[in-house]
Symmetry: C3
Subunit: 429 residues, 3 copies
């Protein structure tokens, strides 16, 4: 299943990659519309420019129609039609002839990565600029250049989309990702396609114990919008949350814990990664970089973590044109899907079991213990007895599994058998 | 003293070894009667077959009169009179002629240990069978065999014995062992003879601060009987408990902690083992195997641990005829006695001391501090000052000793001296 | 500044070194008088001999006029005028002719350190004696010796001095040192001159948040006097305390924690030592040796620690004439001053900050975040964002700094900037 899902995710990423996204504007809406086709029930919302959002203000909407740089002979040196990283995000309109020297302050390149076009934005201060590879920049000859950015920055809306998948309880799992970067693969497409795959899998489940709140929004400001509108509900209901980002390449996993650690999200993630992603690394919250910055901020304190592969800021292709579709893979995406699905599966199963008998139950007459006591007979029921020993009403499934050194889902299978045998109960939430 | 006690224990083990014990029946009563001769006041109790005991039912009483296997020529191939492991425990009666092929499903041997007769029981499902060495089994020729087990399985009683040694307080120490295995030495005789030696030592003490509840019963069902009859009292009074098992050989010690650890029993055991049994190992409660399975079960949660030598299930002779009197030794038993006696001695001494003066007391005028202050004088009173520093009413004797890196009994000697000097008090329990 | 201060401290130590101090008497008063000249406001107090002080009694006052040992030819073999360690502290008067054999029990020397004169006292039992190098002792020839100690031991007073430097709050920092040893440098002079330098620095500060209680008293009995007179106030107000001792040489630092550890004094000291004294050692409270013995005793439990260099009892020159002015240095004293000043600076700054916005504040419009978002822009504000993330009202400045891996004063600078920007507040004490 993961293989097929990996191929689906990669295809969706390929479809979405070329769209010119930014914080706001038509690229975001086109992206959300595509995702809506994959997830019935996904609802697109908007909030007006100028609205106060906690300490922030929703910026004007940016529409980019074209952007190019021509030389004196009318040759297009740079054209955003070729790569949408070529323009500084939120560039104000310009139509001017400049000398190379006049142009230079508005050009951005990376001397250390001469083939990469950098990704640059200026959301909250008016500027214009072009991004290009340093190699190309060095070929520019003195002369006159025609800089044209046909954009508008006007009051409009900021969009996001939400899908609620209700479960038997009001307890919620938050899956959050962002859709605000133009053509980059690991640090943009991987998150939305992973969340989409998870949402489709969750929607198809015959039943869900938990409710899922699934969010696609522009990074930072989108998370702040959520908090400004839903803080009390999010705080009350959210038992675990995950920011999906940088999860599409083939590198080993990197875990970003919550601010203080120890939440259910931290516990399930480390339980799964320890057993199913040996060699994973744990980053420090001091190096966080996505919407956990908002979700985990003081006074908000949602139990939110992130399971990444090559982490933002730590791989050279990050925030450049080199973070393209060749940097991610169906297998990389499928591996992230498998880990996240397992985390969610365990959260679904994470109830608290308690034995209903004092002392050990007589398993033999229930067919759960060998009736012939030999030297080896105890070993065969080792795990059953250990589940019984720690099902004391004080350990949830994850804690029980950690205690007895079993995978949580294997532990659940045993506990369910014991519930069926009438010697164990599930505590109410 | 330990040497003499070791010899006594080994002699008692030798006397008791041949008795054909099982969960119930005459072998148990004979064993308890012998122990009663060593411990005046030991009281034998019984509970009727069919009585519900928590989740269990007391089984019928098993009486084995004879059991043998003859060949066509009337030669006794196997005879329980030679070794009482030869018959499967709780075998139902049989008197039948069978071919070798028909007989095989009722024979039990250990291919990997060809000289060992395995120990097998079937308490809770009706069966019959013989146990023999694999070497002997391979000599059996095709032909007819006469299988005779003259046993009865009828309503009767299950027996156990209890000795209460009262102390100044109602706080109890539980010493529990089992008397339900036939002729095996480490995994049967070592426990009862150790508990007997401890009981005799305790009975002879001029005074006891604590009360001792000393139990000899069939494993599992016996512990369940205790819990079903005394749970509230056990929970209220028991401050520490020890299951005596597998404590007679010469191997290094193995400590079995309580289910969650950290109880007074865990603390005293690790304090003593650390100082007096260097190289001891700590087993995981996940690998428990005796009556701590019941005593530490959720909702029961007595503070019970076990200090073993070669631990059940971990030595090849376990549950075979090779676990015989040559596997245990007077020295091995004496070493276990010394450790357990020290644990109990510390529990007796484990009060909470508190200094009665603010600041350091003036030890000099009480003859506890050198009056001439030289470069070395502080060192000579180092331990006294450290006892004073941590006798804050928050550390019991064991915690105080751990803090200052002294043995608890050495620490007690200092604290008592300070009590006598009028600068320290003992907090009421 | 430390260099100048180091030279000042060394000069004061040199001035004070020759004075013949003891628990009581003119040497103490002369010392306190000299210190009073450096610290306006330093007040000298006295308590009468015979006064009960907790478990102790203030001893008689000792006045030593002269002490010498002459041979038959009137040659002064030993004269306290040459080195005030030559007489056993609190020696009762003597004027007697003795044979060498009669004299020997009253002579003290160190065979293992033949050139050192030991420091010996007998405060609480009447004795007399001379201390001399073992080398010298071995030159003594049989014959008659004239032992003269012209001293008096009479009811008088015990003196100490106190300086209170008030701050904005009643919360107090205790700086305590002793002035009761004769001519020794590290284990006597270093403490008073360090405390003097700190007091002068504190007195010159434009404002102090905290109040400082600065004590110069004879060791042990002086601390007990404080406790007997001020225990409730000390317990209520003292947030951190430091015993200054053995802090003048050039060895690496040694930290003596409080009795149970974890106090604010422990936290600030380890924060500073970890960052500014790499390679420092932590001693065990079991090896304490100065007034933390009293301040940290059970029921007193003040948060008092000690930051030393070569620790009492651990360097061979300790309590001998070899602990002279060559054993300490201006640089050694200056280093201790720098560490202690930093500790105090952090205590002054150690408030609890809390962000006043939910989610991250928009730092960009406050000029605290680059408006152009490039690959590196997040890194430049890394520390600011981390201060914001952990300024949750649950971390005081030290805890905040430890969380984010910054020095507390660097952390404070950022937090103050955020307070100025209106996105952070200081919680009231």
């Amino acid at each position: 299943m993961e293989t097929d899902t990996g191929r689906d995710m990669y295809r969706w990423a390929s479809d979405l990659f070329p769209i010119a996204r930014s914080l706001t504007g038509p690229g975001v809406r086109e992206t959300l519309s595509y995702l809506g086709g994959l997830m019935p029930g996904l609802t697109v919302h908007s909030i007006a420019s100028g609205t106060k959002v906690l300490d922030w203000i929703v910026p004007d909407e940016w529409t980019l129609r074209s952007a190019y740089l021509e030389d004196e002979k009318g040759r297009r040196i740079i054209d955003v039609a070729n790569n949408n990283l070529h323009v500084v995000g939120y560039s104000e309109p310009v139509d001017a002839w400049l000398s190379l020297d006049e142009l230079q302050p508005n050009l951005h390149s990376l001397p250390a990565q001469p083939t990469a076009i950098p990704y640059i934005t200026s959301y909250y201060q008016r500027r214009w600029g072009f991004c290009l590879s340093h190699a190309q920049r060095q070929t520019l000859q003195p002369g006159r250049y025609h800089a044209v950015i046909d954009s508008s920055l006007e009051p409009g809306v900021l969009n996001w989309a939400e899908l609620i998948l209700p479960g038997q309880t009001e307890q919620e799992v938050l899956l959050s990702t962002y859709i605000c970067h133009p053509s980059m693969a690991n640090n943009e497409m991987s998150g939305p396609v992973l969340v989409t795959a998870l949402a489709r899998w969750l929607a198809a489940l015959p039943q869900r114990r938990l409710t899922y709140r699934i969010l696609f929004h522009p990074e930072t400001i989108g998370a702040l919008v959520q908090l400004s509108r839903n803080l009390e509900a999010l705080r009350e209901k959210t038992i675990a949350g995950f920011v999906a980002t940088c999860c599409g390449d083939d590198a080993a996993f990197t875990f970003m814990p919550s601010r203080l650690g120890g939440t259910l999200a931290d516990r399930v993630a480390t339980h799964v990664l320890t057993r199913h992603a040996p060699g994973y690394a744990t980053a420090s919250f001091l190096h966080r970089g996505s919407d956990e910055r908002q979700y985990c901020s003081p006074g908000v304190d949602l139990p939110v973590v992130s399971i990444m592969r090559s982490m933002y800021g730590r791989y050279p292709q990050y925030h450049t044109s080199l973070d393209d579709l060749s940097f991610i893979s169906p297998d990389g995406l499928a591996g992230s899907f498998a880990i996240m699905r397992r985390c969610i599966g365990i959260l679904e199963a994470n109830v608290t079991f308690r034995t209903t008998v004092l002392g050990e139950p007589q398993l033999g007459r229930r067919g759960l213990y060998p009736t012939l006591s030999t030297k080896e007979s105890a070993a065969t029921v080792h795990d059953i007895l250990n589940v019984l020993a720690y099902a004391d009403g004080q350990h949830d499934l994850i804690a029980l599994a950690e205690r007895i050194g079993l995978d949580a889902l294997a532990c659940e299978a045993i506990a369910r058998k014991l519930v069926d045998a009438g010697v164990m109960e599930i505590l109410p939430d």
